[in-house]
């Protein structure tokens, strides 16, 4: 174990012999038939996921998304593009929606994370989940957890007065309008094309006709 400031991590170098000797003939740089491959470096992190504190040891390379899905088995959050382009991985961290695929779990020590599993349950749906069901805001459902986490946070952003690209008056209060919802939800892609129903569902939760 090697101590790094504020942080425990360990690193082992593994000598790989068998795997490389098999490929030795095609790897001219490896005259000895041996290669040193770095093993994963791990770190400790405490995350509060949907209200429960979890102490975890994670590969430093693990994204928040991978820790949610693979370590904690919270598979509601989806991996779509894994590059921040589709929004399927959207979760709410410290009250803000982010792409969980583009952040390392180890960067979130002490943070509170809300996933789709933390918004509601099958017997007690969050109003946004109920509205998506009512308005048929999905077909295949793959993007839906990200859409719903994003939508919940969008209404909070509007309430907090955060402007958007389509807000006409930068110095006024933004309103919930179909244009505002479409713009603010542009980081969540739905390949089935349920957009109009998604906008209606969000509008209903906000108490406006979208």
């Amino acid at each position: 174990m090697q101590q790094v400031p504020e942080f425990d991590m360990s690193r082992r170098d593994i000598l790989i012999v068998g795997a490389v000797s098999a490929a030795g003939a095609a790897a001219p740089g490896l005259a000895s038939g041996q290669e040193t491959v770095a093993a994963p470096v791990v770190g400790k992190v405490i995350l509060t996921i949907n209200g429960t504190a979890r102490a975890l040891e994670v590969d430093l390379r693990a994204t928040l998304l991978d820790v949610l899905r693979e370590t904690l088995k919270l598979t509601g959050t989806k991996k779509g593009c894994d590059h921040g382009q589709c929004g399927a991985c959207t979760v709410i961290v410290e009250g803000r929606r982010i792409n969980s695929c583009l952040t390392l779990a180890v960067m979130h020590d002490g943070d509170k994370v809300t996933t789709i599993e933390g918004l509601g349950t099958p017997g007690d749906l969050h109003p946004m989940q109920a509205a998506f069901v009512k308005h048929d805001g999905y077909q295949c459902g793959y993007c839906t957890p990200g859409q719903i986490c994003s939508a919940v946070a969008v209404l909070e952003e509007i309430k907090a007065g955060v402007p958007s690209h389509v807000t006409a008056d930068l110095n006024g209060r933004p309103k919930v309008t179909p244009d505002e919802l479409r713009e603010r939800m542009s980081g969540n892609i739905c390949r089935c094309g349920a957009y109009s129903n998604i906008v209606e569902a969000i509008g209903e939760v906000a108490g406006v006709k979208a």
């Binding site: 991590m9 430093l60 390379r61 929004g87 583009l102 110095n171 542009s186």
Partner: protein
């Protein structure tokens, strides 16, 4: 993604020293661009210095009536700040025109300035790219060049800088404040911050190894009508083909900077005296010496028309 080691910095100077001390180290803040590139192994840092816990997340008034924006202020918070909305509307507008809500919640002020190009060949590790692998060649020259630079490019690279925020900061005469590994600080006018590609397209800014951005300062408000107009292939969540950040004064004078056209925000101050005479008088000078490709020559026409539209709106 390649393995790396990781530490959390305790002060800006320590962070700078940590990156300078570890070969192949990088700062990580929002991570939205760096992690994307690390997954593709375009960026392969051996060590990450996490600067997220440094207290560089405030926006403060300066003595001369301007604002000092901490390097870690998230794009959402900068765009929503009441002082920025009221006095630097072009900056709010530029930020809100970029990326998605999720990304703006993570992306930082300094990281936005340091984001890498979205040139398709920079992202395609199977193709030569002088920016990704110096000396390997430029696949964009003679390739798919529609989104790429029309001016300030070189025989080595025709990439563009993708930021919207930086274009607004250029028109507002922002200054980038940094700390070096030895603890020295300096202030770099944004006009001098980003480099042109020339013979070393992999070197994108004037920052020294380990030098950390601590803040961006804005001079006192310049007033005027402030407009950011971005033309892109989709209505939202797309990079600019051409963008214009402009401040237009009641007498018809003003300033304009252009995005999506060069390796850095493109502004020619000497051309701004022509603004009362209309867009073409300005863009003829701003784009003098342009070297567009057959595929992106439309950007020169688009830049003139976009500025024309901005001037019409400002004078509306």
């Amino acid at each position: 993604m390649r393995t790396f080691t990781y530490e959390r910095a305790k002060s800006p100077a320590e962070a700078a020293a940590a990156v300078a001390r570890n070969p192949g180290a990088r700062f990580i803040a929002g991570g939205t661009n760096l992690l994307d590139l690390m997954k593709l192994e375009i960026e392969t840092p051996a060590h990450l210095v996490d600067v997220n816990r440094l207290e560089l997340d405030r926006i403060e008034a300066t003595k001369d009536g301007g604002l000092r924006i901490g390097a870690l202020v998230r794009n959402t918070d900068l765009a929503a700040d009441k002082r920025v909305r009221k006095d630097y509307g072009v900056l709010s507008r530029a930020l809100l025109a970029g990326a998605s809500g999720q990304l703006r919640n993570k992306a930082t002020t300094a990281g936005n300035l340091l984001q890498r190009t979205r040139c398709p060949y920079f992202y395609d590790t199977a193709q030569p790219c002088n920016k990704r692998t110096p000396g390997s060649g430029c696949s964009a020259i003679g390739g798919f060049s529609r989104p790429l630079a029309v001016i300030g490019s070189s025989d080595q690279c025709i990439a563009t800088h993708p930021s919207d925020m930086a274009v607004a900061m250029r028109v507002l005469d922002a200054v980038v404040e940094t700390v070096r590994p030895n603890g020295e600080t300096r202030a770099i006018p944004i006009a001098d911050f980003h480099r042109l590609p020339e013979k070393t397209p992999a070197v994108e800014t004037v920052l020294a190894p380990g030098e950390l951005i601590t803040a961006v300062t804005l001079p006192a408000p310049v007033g005027g009508k402030q407009v950011y107009r971005k033309v892109r292939d989709r209505a939202s969540y797309a990079f600019a083909l051409v963008s214009v950040a402009a401040v237009v004064q009641p007498d018809g004078g003003g300033r304009a900077a252009f995005g999506g056209v060069a390796h850095r925000p493109w502004r020619v101050e000497a051309a701004e005296a022509a603004m009362p005479r209309g867009a073409k008088a300005v863009t003829d000078q701003v784009f003098a010496g342009a070297r567009p490709t057959e595929q992106n020559a439309f950007k020169l026409v688009l830049a003139e028309r976009t500025l024309g539209s901005v001037l019409a709106e400002a004078r509306g």
